[in-house]
């Protein structure tokens, strides 16, 4: 696989203000949904992004697809800064970055036929003649394993898995380079999840796509992605090649997460030790000082609550090739 970066995100921050006041609105606080996130996606690569709900995964997706405008940081996409692009430049960049949504029931307009939904991107960008666009709809449906005759039907006539295929087809309509998949299988039945995952993997091979694959299910990410990034409270705490993250995680949060994945072997399952995190994720409007994870960190407790965890926010540091961790004590695990 080529290592040429397609997307380089640096110090990305998205904050949502909390406003108060009846007549004159004042900003009283802000939710730091994404708080200084940096990562790269190479051409043709699948980067998995995992984390609990509320950790900012989806906001990262929304910033990259420019549904929300980032407050700080750069999103370098093939030489252009997506974070600040506006007008025509943004319009042209949008073509190349497409999105797949979590809920296949909410992501398709119930009043449009499948054909109209899949045709719309071409209509907006004036691609080809009318006949070519109709042909493209059939092509897209075939690409995602659906009958081209489905174009005349409405979304409610399809099952969840079929709808998600339509969502995938829409994302592919403009031949993007990067597809941001925001939990594309978590709303589906387990049996259908595998089908969609295989479809996504197959499409990557055929079309040379890169994915930013967001999920909260580690086993799903493990199955599909080349590298995996773990997010906690608006920050990335660990990035590593997927196999390495699975076999030897370093960050105490990743270790706890992986220990929660069930193993389909009762003998091993019985013996292994689970780490159960105490308490809840702190509010992103009032994050803890120092390390974001310090309030729930079992390693911090084991090490006798070192002062550094309370005062200093750890930066991502390299522990081995392609394996970065944001923890002050990566060698103490």
């Amino acid at each position: 696989m080529s290592r040429e970066p397609l997307l380089t995100v640096k110090d990305l921050a998205v904050r949502f203000p909390i406003r108060e006041g009846l007549v004159r609105e004042r900003t009283v606080a802000e939710v730091r949904a994404v708080d200084g996130v940096s990562f790269e996606v190479a051409k043709g690569e699948i980067l998995g992004l995992v984390g609990e709900s509320g950790c900012g995964k989806s906001t990262v997706a929304r910033a990259i697809t420019r549904v929300v405008k980032p407050n700080a940081g750069t999103i370098d996409f093939d030489g252009q800064n997506l974070a600040t692009a506006e007008g025509r430049e943004l319009h042209e960049l949008r073509r190349r970055v497409q999105m797949i949504f979590q809920d296949p029931y909410a992501s398709l307009n119930p009043r449009m036929t499948v054909g109209a939904i899949l045709r719309e991107p071409a209509d907006i960008y004036n691609v080809g003649t009318s006949a070519e666009r109709t042909g493209r709809v059939a092509e897209l449906l075939e690409l995602v394993g659906l009958d081209p005759r489905f174009a005349e039907r409405y979304p409610h006539e399809f099952s969840g898995g079929q709808r998600q295929r339509i969502g995938v087809a829409r994302a592919l309509a403009l031949n993007p380079d990067l597809v941001v998949a925001d939990e594309p299988v978590s709303a589906l039945d387990v049996s259908v999840q595998a089908q969609i995952l295989n479809l996504l993997a197959e499409l990557r091979q055929r079309l040379g796509l890169a994915y930013l694959f967001i999920a909260h299910d580690l086993s799903v990410v493990r199955h599909i992605s080349d590298r995996t990034a773990v997010m906690y409270l608006g920050k990335i705490v660990e990035v590593a090649p997927s196999a390495e993250l699975n076999s030897s995680p370093v960050h105490p949060y990743s270790i706890a997460l992986l220990s929660a994945v069930p193993i389909p072997d009762p003998a091993i399952e019985k013996k292994r030790k689970r780490i159960i995190l105490k308490g809840d994720v702190p509010s992103p409007s009032n994050p803890p000082s120092g390390c974001a994870f310090q309030t729930r960190c079992w390693l911090k407790e084991k090490l006798g609550n070192p002062e550094r965890c309370n005062t200093e926010s750890p930066q991502l540091v390299q522990v081995s090739t392609g394996h970065q961790v944001a923890c002050h004590f990566p060698d103490k695990v």
Partner: protein, 262 residues
Amino acid sequence: MVGLFCIVLFASAAILAPLIAPYDPYAMNGSSLDAPSLTHLFGTDLLGRDILSRVLYGAQISLFVGVGAVAIALVIGGALGAIAGGFGGRVDGVIMRTTDVFLSIPSILLAIGIVTALGRGMPQLTLAIAVSYAPTFARLLRGSLLALREADYVVAARTIGASRLRILVRHMLPNALTPLIVQATLVLATAIIDIAGLGFLGLGPTDPRTPEWGTMLVDARRFMQAAPHIVIFIGGAIVISAIGFNLLGDGLRESLDPKLKR
């Protein structure tokens, strides 16, 4: 079903009035204040005019003014609501504060004010009722549009580069119209009562002979003791048509709302 029956009854009475009315509603055909009989099914009024014929023609007036008023209100309110909900920001603030002002005045009072200002007459009456209901529609549409703004398929439309106008027209409006249509039927019921109410207050059609339900009710009120049938038949007509539209609105809400269907 009952609602639909009432509406069919009301609408066919209004449309077929010239065909099925047994007498000319303006002509004197019998003696004064006759009780219901086979010749005059609903009896006659003070001037000996046939009540049944007048009630039928009255339905026509109520239907035309009511439907006209609701249609105008729907267009004005819908446009304002679409602008407010679709674009947001300062425009939204200005439009919504204005509708707040209108909504804080009782609709019948507002209608009285408008008829007083513009003078009496059918077009003025229609306009008065339209203006007093437009804010309701504006608010309703804005509300549904705001809820849709964060819907996945609207976000999806943005990621495929759709313009604001395209998103509003193709993705948001078609999905926001259902509550508006339901509300329109419900408002029609209130509008019919308002028309009669304005007529009752002497702000109805300029010609006092016009068979408008409210105007007729005022005349009949004086003889409530001697000839109660007049009040009962006219009142009954108002009640049936209003209940009809209310029930129809409820029925539409149930059959059109996808949330209730699932």
